[in-house]
Symmetry: C2
Amino acid sequence: MEKELDERKQKILNAIIQTYLETGEPVGSRTISKYTDLNLSSATIRNEMSDLEDMGYILQPHTSAGRIPSDKGYRLYVDTLMREKEEEVSEIKELMIQKTDRMEKVLKQVVKVLASNTNYATMITGPSYHHTKVKFIQLSKVRVDQLLAVIVVDGNMVKNQMIDLEEEMDDETVLKLNLLLNTQLNGLTVEEISLGMIAKLKEQAGIHSGVVSQVLDAIAAAISEEDEMPVFTSGATNILKYPELSDGEMATQLISAFEEKRPLAELLQETKSEDGEETGIQIYIGSESPIKTMKDCSVVTATYELGDGMTGTIGIIGPKRMDYENVVDNLKTLKAQLDSIFKKE
Amino acid sequence: MEKELDERKQKILNAIIQTYLETGEPVGSRTISKYTDLNLSSATIRNEMSDLEDMGYILQPHTSAGRIPSDKGYRLYVDTLMREKEEEVSEIKELMIQKTDRMEKVLKQVVKVLASNTNYATMITGPSYHHTKVKFIQLSKVRVDQLLAVIVVDGNMVKNQMIDLEEEMDDETVLKLNLLLNTQLNGLTVEEISLGMIAKLKEQAGIHSGVVSQVLDAIAAAISEEDEMPVFTSGATNILKYPELSDGEMATQLISAFEEKRPLAELLQETKSEDGEETGIQIYIGSESPIKTMKDCSVVTATYELGDGMTGTIGIIGPKRMDYENVVDNLKTLKAQLDSIFKKE
DNA sequence: GTTAGCACTCCACTTAATCGAGTGCTAACA
DNA sequence: TGTTAGCACTCGATTAAGTGGAGTGCTAAC
């Protein structure tokens, strides 16, 4: 291992990866010899390539084929890519995100844009509610034995829950309960609504303790139900565009994941907890991916922020020979846009 | 056209279609000769097949291949199938639909069951709200210049809408508005909330007419937004299992439709308006489908009912060589189950 | 250290050959 | 008249063989 990754090797590796990204086919010494500006003959390139292969940055699918980047090679590539372009503020292309109050629409729009910009499969999660504060609770009597609970949490997310009462309830009690709930629960996170809190509420409510616990259960259910984070996707069929992903089981598994959404939610969740460097952008190449079935893909994710400390994640799945530069660029601008959209609101 | 479709031809046609459904490959005379109980030599079968081809029930992909059913052949098949099995009450297999108040979960469960039972791609729409009555409206003040409107319609569907007010509003006004809205709009369908109604309301509200129209707009928006009917899907990747659908553009288009959902919503909408015979089950074979891109598939749909005259549609998409019998059976039982679940509620 | 040249490898692609399922037709048979 | 056996023929699918070309590794010269 006395071999060193000098600048020339670096350049050659770069050239290999870039042309491979474009063509998707193993690239040979001759191609590089012509492509690069440092004029070297194919023979020289061959020697260097041989070294690079020894070092594990590239590999041959079979004898007498060109070289393709290994996971390690990709990794080096994206790392230097990120380092070099870090400070460069990417110009924000104007997106057609029309101002909608409904967050869902924004998110749907965003994944769509991303998918059509990149030609990969994309996904996004809405903000998660883990440490979200209750902002407003409203109980309404729909029928004499049926309540509708509406809970608004930070970020103006609204949840509904129907409550079938075991006993009837008069208007006055509803009013009282409303007052109670709002004064007691306001500003609390889901976790803070503890058992003690519930006991206290029951006590204050007096005789109607049975109903109160029913209501609280319903509210807790409504909020925690958010664990099923909504995931929006777009361009799942882009997977079929890349031969290395489209044949056999692979495609089925990937597209299933995009239909089921749950696996994606977990994936995005995972990346968030790993919490990348300052940029908030994470890249998983091949086997680095937290999901085993995606060992032939690359996954790039970015985390965006909502004002109240809530975060969501946007991600993209494509072949390992992904146009990382373009993808990262796109993610950065979208992330910036999302940040500003939601913070402003 | 002096040829007659006698019983023997009928039987042969049936045999052809059934074996084709299983194998997916053109079926030859020899196969039939062995399969059928009426003992006939392959030569005889050949003659009959030739007749059937003349009559347009079957066709040859190319010379010296076996025969495959034509659209007309399928049509005859499913028609007789439906006729024969009409009265037979299919035993209702117990489903794992746990009682949930959230309709979404039921629907998701149902498509999943259907997809795994049949191995085709499935979809379902929730009930549509076209002639739905407003049951309950609740305005709540979230902030001094922000209202939350919650609208409950028949069938206990809940819609939310945030309203950013141009002018501030005090508690009393909110209370008054609530009363007004509930007394005036209650029991009305969306269509009935006409301009005249709005004018009247504005008048009654007095000075706050600006706000009222804002509120009414929001409510109308919230309700009509339901036009984006929710569609749930499952088993989209089943499409990839059938070679005749999985290659080329076809697969991409179909799966895209399943991701976008809108095309499916239209498809299901379409079938509903055509309103099949008593069973509520519709079968579109190949080019009969209302959507051009689906000319190589068959679509089977069933309409289920909710108590209040609302209806939803459940559908299945697969290759033309679909196991119609099984599919129809499944749809019937699911339809029955949905009918009962929602009516009971 | 770089380059030219050459023999060798091996995949991808083409062409040819073969196989076999299936048909249509004719002639014999009940 | 309807049914069957037999046979020549068609045509896609599969296999086999052949070819081209891109690419490598190595050696020798610069």
